[in-house]
Subunit: 241 residues, 2 copies
């Protein structure tokens, strides 16, 4: 027992890197609707901090009533944004690259492996994720609309062209490179848009890769801390509701 908290003493691997005194600050939402909980993109730098043992603090803003000043920090009002001392970074890809520069665990220093990781990082954000964003529109946000029903088959076919090369790579490799990097954090996070889809299930190596990512203690701590913020902030009252 830890005499200070009267709770079972936690091993290092179970201690989250969330620390109000940390130098790195990650902006996240204080609350989001159920369907988005566990999927908001601050999860990506949180996960990276947990993998690397980099302490971070969180700054929570309202998604329903975004403060006007936040658009000076993040032009689209999205999360995450990250501060590290005087540096300011937005876009989850840029936050991952920033954290990668701080930790060889996240991004190899060897030039060839570093180039490989950065190539896969951009592949996650610009080759794999874009059609998955549209898949979210088709199957979730616009699920009831006629165009969405008509669009689904060709979109699924296109997504398969994006998954096949990943499947080929992951059939012989646990991670995209020799060990987990920011590219895997980005790719697993993007692929989670297919968590409940046959598209992922039919690519068994890629499916196993996503499960392997989600089973990481660092991922578990990151998602627990995102969800903990939501639990502390009840759903806001809707005006006129």
């Amino acid at each position: 027992m830890d005499p200070a908290t009267n709770l079972p003493k936690r091993t290092h691997s179970r201690v989250s890197m969330l620390d109000p005194a940390a130098q790195i600050e990650i902006v996240a939402f204080e609350w989001v609707p159920d369907f988005a909980q566990g999927h908001v993109r601050d999860l990506r730098p949180r996960w990276a901090c947990e993998e690397a043992g980099l302490p971070y603090r969180e700054r929570l803003i309202s998604v329903m009533d975004k403060p006007a000043w936040y658009f000076d920090e993040q032009p689209w009002g999205q999360v995450p944004a990250l501060r590290h001392g005087d540096l300011h970074v937005f876009e989850s890809g840029a936050t991952l690259l920033h954290l990668g520069e701080k930790s060889e665990t996240l991004l190899p220093r060897d030039a060839a492996r570093r180039s490989e990781a950065i190539s896969w990082l951009f592949a996650a954000f610009n080759t794999v994720e874009p059609p998955l964003m549209e898949y979210g529109n088709v199957t979730l946000f616009a699920a009831g609309e006629e165009w969405a029903k008509l669009r689904l088959p060709s979109l699924e076919a296109f997504i398969r062209t994006r998954l096949a090369p990943l499947e080929r790579r992951l059939a012989t490799s646990e991670w995209l490179g020799e060990a987990l990097t920011i590219a895997d954090i980005a790719m697993v996070s993007a692929l989670r848009a297919l968590e409940d889809s046959d598209l992922l299930a039919e690519h068994s190596a890629t499916f196993a890769y996503v499960e392997r990512g989600k089973a990481r203690p660092a991922f578990q701590r990151a998602i627990a801390d995102q969800l903990a913020a939501f639990a502390r902030h009840p759903q806001p009252q809707m005006e006129g509701a």
Copy 2:
């Protein structure tokens, strides 16, 4: 006159960085259909090399009959890929970042300005370009399909939410940062998907920004060299056509 070529002597600014002896190699297609000419993504690292004065050579492959070995270099068989000595990079974003590391012209060394540029770089690839890729599907590849007609209004509305923050930024700034960087090369290139659309015309600062990018001598040299390769390689015969 240049006695060696019997052509008017070119000033430095008119000399392309394309050089068969260069250390940097960019993979491009030898020929593509008309609608894609001037838009293939090797244009992005070509433009960056021209801005920075970095000599590069091109390696041309067939888009119609991609060599099987190329998928070991680029998992999706896309261009560009880039070699620089022993280093191998794929995804246009990764090629831009690699070139940025080689040239302060492309990516400031000052930490704050570097972070800003990398943030906008990822914004181009993951926030702005994804709906523009779908716009290409809706207005070009699937233009005759019922779903595409039904999808267009909501997609245009979403694209406006992506353009408004850019318009706000570009209303008071010539480039995304203090001077042109790889982020602008990526953003202008992505926005060219809207070249003929009212969506771009109705955002006057963003429209002017794209025109400013396209007017750069470096952009002009890059696109001329992409088109020159196509001109040297006639359209392949289609089997069974």
